[in-house]
């Protein structure tokens, strides 16, 4: 197999994974939210309602694609793609197992975060091009919140990078294999030194997911449907898919950085090697469940509270913590650079 063909296959696999993920996550969201609210969720179509989401996708695909009269046509058509593509690209550097990844980038962490930050551009495009006041407000809000939380998100992963001395995601995972004193898995989450970074990472990553308590750009009780108001058919489906793909990426990043990726403690490597992707996916799905749990519980934050929290609390806190963390690992020589 030529290397070109191999990479093409990998990209196709990533696309397939993303689409599959979207469908599964929509079903999961409905069921989990339903259970959280003491109802059932979809149960009619197929066994346990499993076919509900594929049918909905079919419905979206066959629906009439309405283009409102006054929209900025070019931007209106580009926007869904501009939202969808970065979400897809973010899959490239996620290590599902030691060998399963699209590409083993040395700057994998940076790449993923940077690519994900492109999403807000697409949202603004959609909001602006829709020629709808609600959409415009939604688009502006999304840009505001994404810019504000890009900085703490990037800074919050710095302790991990400082600790392991690499931006390569699979190296970060490998650094977490093994156990502390034979009891606890040597994941960063079990090390209290990483807890502040983890909290800041989760808060700022929730913004990326665009769901309650931070669904400012959609805010269905305020802005009707925000940036997606004027979109229908599969264009809307792309926004939807990208949103779910983002929650997968965020959860995958959290698992990679803090929960040891595909590693499991006490399991020998030869046993782990074949089941590594399964372990990884399970961890990611648990993370996504927590995201949905938060979504089903919390009310929405107000926009100005959100911005104040970012600029006045989160960014100073994360900068201070990086400084303190650097001192600590230098003083006690804790860093374990890999490679």
């Amino acid at each position: 197999m030529s290397p070109e063909l191999a990479s093409l296959l990998r990209i196709l696999a990533a696309v397939g994974l993303m689409l599959m993920n979207g469908v599964i996550l929509i079903y999961m969201l409905r069921r989990v939210l339903g259970r959280l609210h003491q109802r059932l969720g979809p149960v009619h179509v197929g066994p346990q309602g499993l076919l509900q989401t594929p049918m909905d996708v079919l419905k979206l695909l066959t629906k009439e694609d309405i283009t409102p009269t006054n929209v900025d046509k070019a931007l209106y058509f580009i926007a869904p793609a501009a939202v969808f593509t970065p979400s897809l690209m973010a899959y490239a550097a996620i290590p599902f197992s030691p060998t399963w990844m699209v590409t083993d980038l040395d700057t994998g962490l940076l790449y993923t975060l940077v690519v994900m930050s492109l999403v807000s551009m697409g949202l603004l495009m959609a909001g602006w091009a829709s020629a709808n006041k609600w959409s415009l407000i939604g688009g502006m809000r999304s840009v505001g919140q994404h810019i504000a939380y890009e900085i703490p998100l990037l800074l919050s992963v710095l302790p991990v990078v400082m600790y392991v001395g690499t931006l390569n995601l699979s190296s970060i995972v490998e650094a977490q294999s093994g156990t502390w004193l034979g009891i606890l898995p040597q994941w960063f989450i079990t090390n209290p030194l990483f807890w502040p970074a983890f909290i800041i990472f989760i808060v700022s990553a929730l913004i990326k997911v665009n769901q309650t308590p931070f669904d400012m750009s959609e805010a269905e009780s305020e802005l009707v449907a925000g940036f997606a108001t004027e979109y229908s058919s599969m264009k809307f489906g792309l926004f939807f898919l990208s949103e779910f793909s983002n929650s997968f990426i965020v959860s995958a990043l959290a698992v990679t950085l803090f929960f040891g990726g595909w590693t499991l403690p006490f399991v020998p490597d030869e046993v782990l090697a074949p089941i590594a992707p399964v372990v990884f996916m399970l961890k990611v799905y648990v993370g996504i469940f927590v995201l949905m749990w938060i979504r089903g519980t919390l009310p929405r934050v107000r926009m100005d509270h959100l911005m104040q929290f970012a600029w006045k609390i989160l960014i100073p806190a994360v900068l201070t913590w990086i400084l303190v963390f650097g001192f600590i690992i230098k003083l006690f020589d804790l860093g374990r650079p890999v490679g």
């Binding site: 259970r35 959280l36 003491q38 109802r39 059932l40 749990w293 519980t297 919390l298």
Partner: protein
């Protein structure tokens, strides 16, 4: 501490999740309606299928929305013949005032709640069509004749 309420809220939602769903899966499961449940108006019929309506027009006058329509003709011997008792279900608010007003208990509020119809016309129901009015219950009581005395065959006796 800031955030305690949020965590408590998460605890409550999880507790509710563990309580399990309370959904009634309607087409497969049905709840039993209470005895007093008021749905569409029906004509009370005894075992033989006879009704008790005497065409006294009380229900028609009682209906706040004027959706009951009763037409009758009076024969020479003063007996009444009901042409139709029409009921516009689509405009009915199921207040039960006609049933309360009826002096002969000839009407009742039904318990069938699946009242959706495919066309508008189906919402206009003829409760009684072309039947002889029952002899007034008062007279019946006096002579102690068992109920269902629609022996008058003038109208053909076909009920709607």
């Amino acid at each position: 501490m800031w955030g305690k309420g949020i965590l408590n809220g998460m605890r409550i939602t999880m507790r509710n999740m563990l309580r399990g769903p309370i959904t009634v899966r309607y087409p497969y499961e049905r709840v039993t309606l209470p005895e007093r449940a008021r749905w569409a108006v029906e004509v009370v019929r005894d075992e033989s299928g006879a009704h008790k309506c005497t065409a006294c027009m009380t229900c028609v006058r009682a209906c706040p929305d004027h959706i009951l329509d009763l037409q009758f003709t009076t024969a020479e011997d003063k007996s009444k013949h009901i042409d139709y008792l029409r009921y516009e279900m689509g405009a009915c608010m199921m207040c039960g005032l006609c049933v309360e007003a009826c002096p002969f208990d000839a009407l009742k509020m039904g318990q069938d709640y699946e009242l959706a119809k495919l066309t508008r016309d189906e919402l206009t129901v003829d409760l009684l069509v072309d039947v002889a009015a029952a002899a007034p219950a008062r007279a019946k009581k006096a002579s102690e004749v068992p109920a269902g005395g629609t022996d008058d065959s003038r109208g053909g006796g076909t009920d709607g």
